[in-house]
Protein backbone atom coordinates (compact mmCIF):
# COMPACT_ATOMS: atom_id res chain seq x y z
CA UNK A 1 0.00 0.00 0.00
CA UNK A 2 2.81 2.30 1.01
CA UNK A 3 4.65 1.48 -2.21
CA UNK A 4 1.53 2.27 -4.18
CA UNK A 5 1.12 5.64 -2.51
CA UNK A 6 4.79 6.46 -3.12
CA UNK A 7 4.48 5.41 -6.77
CA UNK A 8 1.45 7.63 -7.26
CA UNK A 9 3.19 10.55 -5.55
CA UNK A 10 6.36 10.15 -7.61
CA UNK A 11 4.35 9.86 -10.81
CA UNK A 12 2.42 13.02 -9.94
CA UNK A 13 5.57 14.98 -9.16
CA UNK A 14 7.55 13.74 -12.15
CA UNK A 15 4.94 14.37 -14.75
CA UNK A 16 3.51 17.81 -15.14
CA UNK A 17 1.14 16.29 -17.66
CA UNK A 18 -2.30 15.75 -16.22
CA UNK A 19 -4.86 13.24 -17.34
CA UNK A 20 -5.96 13.85 -20.90
CA UNK A 21 -8.64 16.51 -20.80
CA UNK A 22 -8.30 17.64 -24.37
CA UNK A 23 -10.69 16.08 -26.82
CA UNK A 24 -9.94 16.06 -30.53
CA UNK A 25 -12.04 14.27 -33.13
CA UNK A 26 -10.81 10.71 -33.55
CA UNK A 27 -9.97 11.41 -37.16
CA UNK A 28 -9.54 14.67 -39.00
CA UNK A 29 -9.02 15.11 -42.73
CA UNK A 30 -5.82 16.90 -43.74
CA UNK A 31 -6.26 20.58 -44.45
CA UNK A 32 -9.66 20.98 -42.76
CA UNK A 33 -10.42 23.28 -39.83
CA UNK A 34 -11.56 21.61 -36.62
CA UNK A 35 -12.00 22.25 -32.92
CA UNK A 36 -10.34 20.70 -29.89
CA UNK A 37 -12.53 20.73 -26.81
CA UNK A 38 -11.19 21.00 -23.29
CA UNK A 39 -12.52 20.99 -19.76
CA UNK A 40 -10.09 23.83 -19.12
CA UNK A 41 -12.06 27.06 -19.40
CA UNK A 42 -9.02 29.16 -18.51
CA UNK A 43 -6.64 30.11 -21.22
CA UNK A 44 -3.10 28.92 -21.58
CA UNK A 45 -0.48 28.05 -24.14
CA UNK A 46 -1.60 25.71 -26.86
CA UNK A 47 0.96 23.57 -28.64
CA UNK A 48 0.38 21.47 -31.71
CA UNK A 49 3.06 18.97 -32.65
CA UNK A 50 2.66 17.38 -36.07
CA UNK A 51 4.73 15.47 -38.61
CA UNK A 52 5.90 18.62 -40.38
CA UNK A 53 4.93 21.50 -38.12
CA UNK A 54 5.14 22.70 -34.54
CA UNK A 55 2.91 25.57 -33.52
CA UNK A 56 2.49 27.50 -30.30
CA UNK A 57 -0.01 30.17 -29.38
CA UNK A 58 -1.78 31.66 -26.42
CA UNK A 59 -5.48 30.88 -26.12
CA UNK A 60 -7.87 32.92 -24.01
CA UNK A 61 -10.58 30.33 -23.80
CA UNK A 62 -9.29 26.81 -23.40
CA UNK A 63 -12.67 25.12 -23.70
CA UNK A 64 -12.78 25.38 -27.49
CA UNK A 65 -9.57 25.66 -29.43
CA UNK A 66 -9.89 26.20 -33.17
CA UNK A 67 -7.22 24.61 -35.29
CA UNK A 68 -7.00 25.93 -38.85
CA UNK A 69 -6.59 23.46 -41.68
CA UNK A 70 -3.28 25.09 -42.61
CA UNK A 71 -1.75 23.58 -39.48
CA UNK A 72 -2.71 20.02 -40.32
CA UNK A 73 -1.75 19.60 -43.95
CA UNK A 74 0.47 16.61 -43.26
CA UNK A 75 -1.19 13.28 -42.52
CA UNK A 76 -0.12 11.43 -39.42
CA UNK A 77 -0.36 11.42 -35.67
CA UNK A 78 -0.47 14.81 -33.96
CA UNK A 79 -0.10 15.73 -30.30
CA UNK A 80 -2.01 18.71 -28.90
CA UNK A 81 -0.99 20.21 -25.57
CA UNK A 82 -2.64 22.89 -23.48
CA UNK A 83 -0.46 24.22 -20.70
CA UNK A 84 -1.47 26.58 -17.96
CA UNK A 85 -0.33 27.23 -14.39
CA UNK A 86 -1.88 23.92 -13.33
CA UNK A 87 0.21 21.92 -15.77
CA UNK A 88 -0.42 20.49 -19.20
CA UNK A 89 -3.17 18.39 -20.69
CA UNK A 90 -2.69 16.60 -23.96
CA UNK A 91 -4.27 14.41 -26.58
CA UNK A 92 -3.13 12.58 -29.67
CA UNK A 93 -5.21 12.46 -32.82
CA UNK A 94 -4.84 11.21 -36.35
CA UNK A 95 -5.01 13.36 -39.45
CA UNK A 96 -5.87 11.26 -42.45
CA UNK A 97 -4.97 12.15 -46.03
CA UNK A 98 -7.64 13.85 -48.13
CA UNK A 99 -8.84 12.42 -51.45
CA UNK A 100 -6.40 11.35 -54.19
CA UNK A 101 -5.22 14.31 -56.22
CA UNK A 102 -1.69 13.57 -57.36
CA UNK A 103 0.27 10.67 -58.74
CA UNK A 104 3.89 9.75 -58.96
CA UNK A 105 4.62 7.24 -61.66
CA UNK A 106 7.74 5.15 -61.91
CA UNK A 107 8.05 3.40 -65.27
CA UNK A 108 10.95 1.11 -65.93
CA UNK A 109 13.00 0.61 -68.06
CA UNK A 110 13.28 3.64 -70.33
CA UNK A 111 14.25 1.42 -73.28
CA UNK A 112 12.92 -2.04 -73.85
CA UNK A 113 13.13 -4.62 -76.60
CA UNK A 114 9.99 -5.37 -78.53
CA UNK A 115 7.85 -8.40 -77.66
CA UNK A 116 9.42 -8.94 -74.22
CA UNK A 117 6.91 -10.44 -71.79
CA UNK A 118 6.39 -8.39 -68.59
CA UNK A 119 9.36 -6.23 -69.47
CA UNK A 120 7.82 -2.89 -68.52
CA UNK A 121 6.81 -2.16 -64.96
CA UNK A 122 4.83 0.84 -63.82
CA UNK A 123 4.40 1.76 -60.16
CA UNK A 124 1.95 4.51 -59.22
CA UNK A 125 2.05 6.25 -55.86
CA UNK A 126 -1.18 7.97 -54.90
CA UNK A 127 -1.02 11.28 -53.03
CA UNK A 128 -3.54 13.84 -51.91
CA UNK A 129 -3.18 17.54 -52.73
CA UNK A 130 -0.90 17.98 -49.71
CA UNK A 131 1.45 15.20 -50.88
CA UNK A 132 0.31 12.72 -48.25
CA UNK A 133 0.31 9.10 -49.34
CA UNK A 134 -3.34 8.05 -49.61
CA UNK A 135 -3.40 4.83 -47.64
CA UNK A 136 -7.06 3.96 -48.20
CA UNK A 137 -7.66 1.61 -51.17
CA UNK A 138 -8.15 3.52 -54.43
CA UNK A 139 -8.57 2.48 -58.05
CA UNK A 140 -5.73 3.44 -60.36
CA UNK A 141 -6.17 3.05 -64.09
CA UNK A 142 -3.07 2.21 -66.06
CA UNK A 143 -2.93 2.93 -69.78
CA UNK A 144 -0.49 1.98 -72.49
CA UNK A 145 -0.61 3.70 -75.88
CA UNK A 146 1.73 2.71 -78.70
CA UNK A 147 1.73 5.08 -81.67
CA UNK A 148 -1.72 5.51 -83.18
CA UNK A 149 -3.06 2.28 -81.68
CA UNK A 150 -5.99 2.21 -79.30
CA UNK A 151 -4.99 2.60 -75.66
CA UNK A 152 -4.96 -0.52 -73.54
CA UNK A 153 -6.29 0.06 -70.02
CA UNK A 154 -6.18 -1.96 -66.86
CA UNK A 155 -7.35 -1.04 -63.41
CA UNK A 156 -5.51 -1.87 -60.20
CA UNK A 157 -6.37 -1.20 -56.58
CA UNK A 158 -3.75 0.76 -54.71
CA UNK A 159 -2.78 -0.79 -51.39
CA UNK A 160 -1.10 1.52 -48.90
CA UNK A 161 -0.94 4.16 -51.63
CA UNK A 162 0.79 1.98 -54.22
CA UNK A 163 -0.56 0.31 -57.35
CA UNK A 164 1.57 -1.43 -59.92
CA UNK A 165 1.41 -3.32 -63.17
CA UNK A 166 3.63 -5.25 -65.54
CA UNK A 167 3.30 -4.88 -69.28
CA UNK A 168 4.56 -6.81 -72.26
CA UNK A 169 6.24 -4.60 -74.82
CA UNK A 170 4.61 -4.26 -78.25
CA UNK A 171 5.81 -5.78 -81.50
CA UNK A 172 6.65 -2.54 -83.26
CA UNK A 173 9.54 -0.36 -82.29
CA UNK A 174 8.89 3.22 -81.27
CA UNK A 175 7.69 5.03 -78.18
CA UNK A 176 4.99 3.66 -75.94
CA UNK A 177 3.24 5.97 -73.52
CA UNK A 178 2.60 4.40 -70.14
CA UNK A 179 0.16 6.33 -68.00
CA UNK A 180 -1.66 6.17 -64.70
CA UNK A 181 -4.87 7.98 -63.89
CA UNK A 182 -6.74 8.56 -60.66
CA UNK A 183 -9.44 11.20 -60.34
CA UNK A 184 -8.05 14.44 -61.72
CA UNK A 185 -4.47 13.22 -61.67
CA UNK A 186 -2.77 11.77 -64.70
CA UNK A 187 0.89 10.96 -65.23
CA UNK A 188 2.56 9.75 -68.39
CA UNK A 189 5.96 8.26 -69.05
CA UNK A 190 7.45 7.33 -72.38
CA UNK A 191 9.25 4.04 -72.83
CA UNK A 192 11.16 3.53 -76.04
CA UNK A 193 10.68 0.15 -77.64
CA UNK A 194 13.66 -0.94 -79.69
CA UNK A 195 14.22 -3.83 -82.06
CA UNK A 196 15.10 -7.13 -80.51
CA UNK A 197 17.89 -9.49 -81.61
CA UNK A 198 18.48 -10.04 -85.30
CA UNK A 199 16.40 -12.79 -86.84
CA UNK A 200 16.67 -14.65 -90.18
CA UNK A 201 20.14 -13.33 -90.98
CA UNK A 202 20.91 -13.66 -94.68
CA UNK A 203 24.24 -12.97 -96.38
CA UNK A 204 25.13 -12.74 -100.04
CA UNK A 205 28.41 -12.55 -101.96
CA UNK A 206 29.47 -9.53 -104.00
CA UNK A 207 32.41 -8.97 -106.31
CA UNK A 208 33.38 -5.40 -106.92
CA UNK A 209 36.55 -4.14 -108.63
CA UNK A 210 38.14 -7.56 -108.18
CA UNK A 211 37.47 -7.66 -104.47
CA UNK A 212 35.18 -10.01 -102.65
CA UNK A 213 32.59 -8.63 -100.24
CA UNK A 214 29.98 -10.29 -98.09
CA UNK A 215 26.94 -8.28 -97.12
CA UNK A 216 23.77 -8.99 -95.24
CA UNK A 217 20.21 -8.38 -96.30
CA UNK A 218 18.62 -5.64 -94.19
CA UNK A 219 19.01 -6.93 -90.62
CA UNK A 220 15.71 -7.16 -88.81
CA UNK A 221 14.35 -8.75 -85.65
CA UNK A 222 11.68 -11.45 -85.70
CA UNK A 223 8.93 -8.80 -85.67
CA UNK A 224 10.35 -7.09 -88.75
CA UNK A 225 11.91 -4.10 -86.99
CA UNK A 226 15.27 -2.94 -88.32
CA UNK A 227 17.98 -3.55 -85.71
CA UNK A 228 19.76 -0.37 -84.67
CA UNK A 229 22.86 0.77 -86.52
CA UNK A 230 25.91 -0.32 -84.62
CA UNK A 231 24.62 -3.82 -83.94
CA UNK A 232 27.59 -6.09 -84.48
CA UNK A 233 27.45 -8.85 -87.08
CA UNK A 234 30.23 -11.44 -87.16
CA UNK A 235 31.37 -13.00 -90.41
CA UNK A 236 33.47 -16.17 -90.13
CA UNK A 237 35.38 -17.50 -93.11
CA UNK A 238 37.08 -20.89 -93.35
CA UNK A 239 39.39 -21.54 -96.32
CA UNK A 240 42.86 -22.93 -97.06
CA UNK A 241 44.51 -20.21 -95.03
CA UNK A 242 42.49 -21.08 -91.94
CA UNK A 243 39.60 -19.58 -89.99
CA UNK A 244 39.06 -15.83 -89.78
CA UNK A 245 36.34 -13.85 -88.04
CA UNK A 246 35.55 -10.24 -88.88
CA UNK A 247 33.07 -8.14 -86.89
CA UNK A 248 31.19 -5.39 -88.70
CA UNK A 249 28.59 -3.00 -87.35
CA UNK A 250 25.27 -2.58 -89.07
CA UNK A 251 25.24 0.65 -91.07
CA UNK A 252 22.06 1.90 -92.68
CA UNK A 253 20.41 -1.43 -91.98
CA UNK A 254 23.05 -3.76 -93.40
CA UNK A 255 26.49 -5.08 -92.47
CA UNK A 256 29.15 -5.47 -95.14
CA UNK A 257 32.71 -6.67 -95.04
CA UNK A 258 35.52 -7.29 -97.52
CA UNK A 259 37.07 -10.75 -97.27
CA UNK A 260 40.01 -12.07 -99.30
CA UNK A 261 39.25 -15.63 -100.31
CA UNK A 262 41.87 -18.26 -100.98
CA UNK A 263 40.38 -21.10 -102.98
CA UNK A 264 37.13 -22.57 -101.75
CA UNK A 265 35.73 -20.93 -98.67
CA UNK A 266 32.77 -21.34 -96.39
CA UNK A 267 31.37 -18.21 -94.77
CA UNK A 268 29.02 -18.09 -91.78
CA UNK A 269 27.25 -15.13 -90.27
CA UNK A 270 26.08 -14.53 -86.72
CA UNK A 271 24.80 -11.70 -84.54
CA UNK A 272 24.72 -12.41 -80.83
CA UNK A 273 23.38 -15.94 -80.48
CA UNK A 274 21.59 -15.84 -83.82
CA UNK A 275 23.21 -17.51 -86.82
CA UNK A 276 22.32 -17.04 -90.46
CA UNK A 277 22.86 -18.83 -93.73
CA UNK A 278 26.14 -20.29 -95.00
CA UNK A 279 27.91 -19.30 -98.21
CA UNK A 280 30.22 -21.53 -100.22
CA UNK A 281 32.36 -19.44 -102.54
CA UNK A 282 35.37 -19.95 -104.72
CA UNK A 283 38.02 -17.30 -104.80
CA UNK A 284 39.53 -15.97 -107.99
CA UNK A 285 42.69 -17.93 -108.82
Amino acid sequence: MRALVITVMVATMCCPLLASDLKAPATVVAGTDFVIASAESQGGTFYLIGPSLVSKREVQNGSEISVPGDEIKSAGVYTALLCSGAGCVSTDFYVKPSSPARLSLLAHPSRVRVAEPNAISAVALVFDKFRNLVVEPAQVEFQAVAGEAQPISQSRTAANGIAWIRLTSGKKEGPIKVGAIIGPAKELRVVRQVASDACNLRIKPEWAAGKFYVSTDPVRDCSGNAVPDGTVVSFTKTDRSGKTTVDAPVKRGIARVQMPVDGNARIFVASGVVTGNELNVTGKQ
Partner: protein, 171 residues
Protein backbone atom coordinates in the same frame (compact mmCIF):
# COMPACT_ATOMS: atom_id res chain seq x y z
CA UNK B 1 57.05 0.30 -27.69
CA UNK B 2 55.67 1.59 -30.99
CA UNK B 3 53.12 -1.21 -30.97
CA UNK B 4 52.07 -0.38 -27.43
CA UNK B 5 51.54 3.25 -28.40
CA UNK B 6 49.46 2.19 -31.37
CA UNK B 7 47.29 -0.07 -29.20
CA UNK B 8 46.86 2.73 -26.67
CA UNK B 9 45.87 5.19 -29.40
CA UNK B 10 43.34 2.73 -30.82
CA UNK B 11 41.89 2.13 -27.35
CA UNK B 12 41.60 5.88 -26.79
CA UNK B 13 39.81 6.39 -30.10
CA UNK B 14 37.44 3.51 -29.37
CA UNK B 15 36.73 4.96 -25.92
CA UNK B 16 36.12 8.42 -27.36
CA UNK B 17 33.76 7.14 -30.06
CA UNK B 18 31.90 5.10 -27.44
CA UNK B 19 31.72 8.11 -25.16
CA UNK B 20 30.33 10.31 -27.93
CA UNK B 21 27.46 7.97 -28.57
CA UNK B 22 26.97 6.76 -25.03
CA UNK B 23 23.81 8.82 -24.62
CA UNK B 24 22.39 7.63 -27.91
CA UNK B 25 22.11 3.87 -27.83
CA UNK B 26 21.46 2.44 -31.26
CA UNK B 27 17.85 1.43 -31.75
CA UNK B 28 17.13 -2.23 -32.33
CA UNK B 29 15.84 -2.85 -35.84
CA UNK B 30 14.23 -6.06 -37.06
CA UNK B 31 13.21 -6.54 -40.66
CA UNK B 32 10.64 -9.08 -41.74
CA UNK B 33 10.50 -9.80 -45.47
CA UNK B 34 8.20 -12.86 -45.41
CA UNK B 35 5.35 -11.18 -47.28
CA UNK B 36 7.44 -8.99 -49.53
CA UNK B 37 6.68 -8.85 -53.25
CA UNK B 38 6.62 -8.72 -56.19
CA UNK B 39 10.42 -8.59 -56.30
CA UNK B 40 12.42 -10.75 -53.97
CA UNK B 41 14.94 -9.05 -51.78
CA UNK B 42 18.64 -9.82 -51.87
CA UNK B 43 20.50 -10.40 -48.60
CA UNK B 44 22.72 -7.37 -49.19
CA UNK B 45 19.71 -5.14 -49.79
CA UNK B 46 18.13 -6.40 -46.57
CA UNK B 47 21.23 -5.41 -44.65
CA UNK B 48 21.36 -2.01 -46.37
CA UNK B 49 17.74 -1.28 -45.55
CA UNK B 50 18.24 -2.07 -41.86
CA UNK B 51 21.46 -0.03 -41.69
CA UNK B 52 20.19 2.98 -43.65
CA UNK B 53 16.79 3.14 -41.96
CA UNK B 54 18.52 3.13 -38.59
CA UNK B 55 20.88 5.88 -39.72
CA UNK B 56 17.95 7.87 -41.11
CA UNK B 57 16.31 7.85 -37.69
CA UNK B 58 19.57 8.81 -36.10
CA UNK B 59 19.93 11.82 -38.39
CA UNK B 60 16.28 12.73 -37.84
CA UNK B 61 16.88 12.64 -34.11
CA UNK B 62 19.92 14.91 -34.52
CA UNK B 63 18.10 17.30 -36.85
CA UNK B 64 15.20 17.71 -34.42
CA UNK B 65 17.26 17.78 -31.23
CA UNK B 66 19.71 20.37 -32.50
CA UNK B 67 17.48 22.17 -35.01
CA UNK B 68 19.83 21.29 -37.85
CA UNK B 69 17.95 20.64 -41.09
CA UNK B 70 21.29 19.90 -42.76
CA UNK B 71 21.46 16.66 -40.80
CA UNK B 72 18.60 15.36 -42.96
CA UNK B 73 20.67 15.52 -46.14
CA UNK B 74 22.30 12.14 -45.76
CA UNK B 75 19.37 9.76 -45.49
CA UNK B 76 16.22 11.66 -46.44
CA UNK B 77 14.97 12.82 -49.79
CA UNK B 78 11.78 14.02 -51.46
CA UNK B 79 8.69 14.60 -49.34
CA UNK B 80 10.23 13.23 -46.16
CA UNK B 81 13.11 15.68 -46.34
CA UNK B 82 10.77 18.58 -47.15
CA UNK B 83 8.43 17.72 -44.27
CA UNK B 84 11.14 17.32 -41.66
CA UNK B 85 12.93 20.44 -42.86
CA UNK B 86 9.66 22.35 -42.36
CA UNK B 87 9.35 20.81 -38.91
CA UNK B 88 12.84 22.03 -37.97
CA UNK B 89 12.06 25.50 -39.36
CA UNK B 90 8.89 25.71 -37.25
CA UNK B 91 10.85 24.52 -34.21
CA UNK B 92 13.31 27.37 -34.76
CA UNK B 93 10.44 29.82 -35.16
CA UNK B 94 8.48 28.78 -32.06
CA UNK B 95 11.27 27.70 -29.73
CA UNK B 96 9.39 24.45 -29.19
CA UNK B 97 11.10 21.25 -30.07
CA UNK B 98 10.53 17.56 -30.13
CA UNK B 99 13.13 15.15 -28.91
CA UNK B 100 12.75 11.62 -30.18
CA UNK B 101 14.63 8.69 -28.82
CA UNK B 102 13.90 5.62 -30.85
CA UNK B 103 14.30 2.37 -28.97
CA UNK B 104 13.02 -0.24 -31.32
CA UNK B 105 11.81 -0.60 -34.91
CA UNK B 106 9.91 -3.63 -36.13
CA UNK B 107 10.04 -3.30 -39.89
CA UNK B 108 7.91 -5.32 -42.26
CA UNK B 109 8.75 -4.92 -45.92
CA UNK B 110 5.49 -4.96 -47.86
CA UNK B 111 6.30 -3.86 -51.40
CA UNK B 112 9.43 -4.02 -53.51
CA UNK B 113 8.90 -2.71 -57.00
CA UNK B 114 9.64 -5.07 -59.92
CA UNK B 115 12.53 -2.91 -61.07
CA UNK B 116 13.96 -2.49 -57.58
CA UNK B 117 13.58 1.29 -57.50
CA UNK B 118 11.21 1.60 -54.52
CA UNK B 119 10.46 -0.31 -51.36
CA UNK B 120 7.60 0.23 -48.97
CA UNK B 121 7.83 -0.88 -45.37
CA UNK B 122 5.73 -0.72 -42.27
CA UNK B 123 7.47 0.22 -39.06
CA UNK B 124 6.16 -0.33 -35.60
CA UNK B 125 8.44 1.95 -33.63
CA UNK B 126 8.87 2.27 -29.90
CA UNK B 127 9.89 5.81 -29.11
CA UNK B 128 10.36 8.16 -26.25
CA UNK B 129 8.99 11.51 -27.28
CA UNK B 130 9.72 14.65 -25.32
CA UNK B 131 8.21 18.03 -26.07
CA UNK B 132 10.16 21.04 -24.84
CA UNK B 133 9.44 24.73 -24.92
CA UNK B 134 12.92 26.19 -24.79
CA UNK B 135 14.45 24.18 -21.98
CA UNK B 136 11.16 23.56 -20.20
CA UNK B 137 9.99 19.98 -20.50
CA UNK B 138 6.28 19.93 -21.30
CA UNK B 139 5.70 16.28 -21.89
CA UNK B 140 7.42 12.93 -21.97
CA UNK B 141 5.66 10.02 -23.57
CA UNK B 142 6.63 6.45 -24.29
CA UNK B 143 4.81 5.84 -27.52
CA UNK B 144 4.40 3.12 -30.07
CA UNK B 145 3.93 4.62 -33.49
CA UNK B 146 3.18 2.92 -36.77
CA UNK B 147 4.74 4.33 -39.91
CA UNK B 148 4.47 3.69 -43.61
CA UNK B 149 7.92 4.14 -45.05
CA UNK B 150 8.92 4.57 -48.66
CA UNK B 151 12.60 4.05 -49.43
CA UNK B 152 14.38 4.47 -52.74
CA UNK B 153 17.95 3.59 -53.65
CA UNK B 154 20.52 6.37 -53.91
CA UNK B 155 24.07 6.19 -55.18
CA UNK B 156 25.42 4.20 -52.24
CA UNK B 157 22.52 3.89 -49.80
CA UNK B 158 18.79 3.65 -49.41
CA UNK B 159 17.04 6.94 -48.72
CA UNK B 160 13.80 7.57 -46.86
CA UNK B 161 11.47 9.30 -49.33
CA UNK B 162 8.28 9.24 -47.29
CA UNK B 163 7.67 8.56 -43.60
CA UNK B 164 4.03 8.83 -42.65
CA UNK B 165 2.58 7.84 -39.31
CA UNK B 166 -0.59 5.80 -39.54
CA UNK B 167 -3.15 4.92 -36.89
CA UNK B 168 -2.87 1.85 -34.72
CA UNK B 169 -4.56 -1.21 -36.11
CA UNK B 170 -4.08 -0.58 -39.81
CA UNK B 171 -3.36 -3.93 -41.47
Amino acid sequence: MKLLLLVLAAALIAFYVGYLHADEPAAKIDLNTDTLGPRTIEELTEKSIVRDYGLAWRTLRDALNHNQPGALEGYFTGFAKDDFSRLVQSQLKTGVHVRYSDRNHRLTAIFYSPSGDAMQLRDRATLEMQILDGTKLLSTQQVTRNYLVLMTPGADRWLVRDLQSIPEGRP
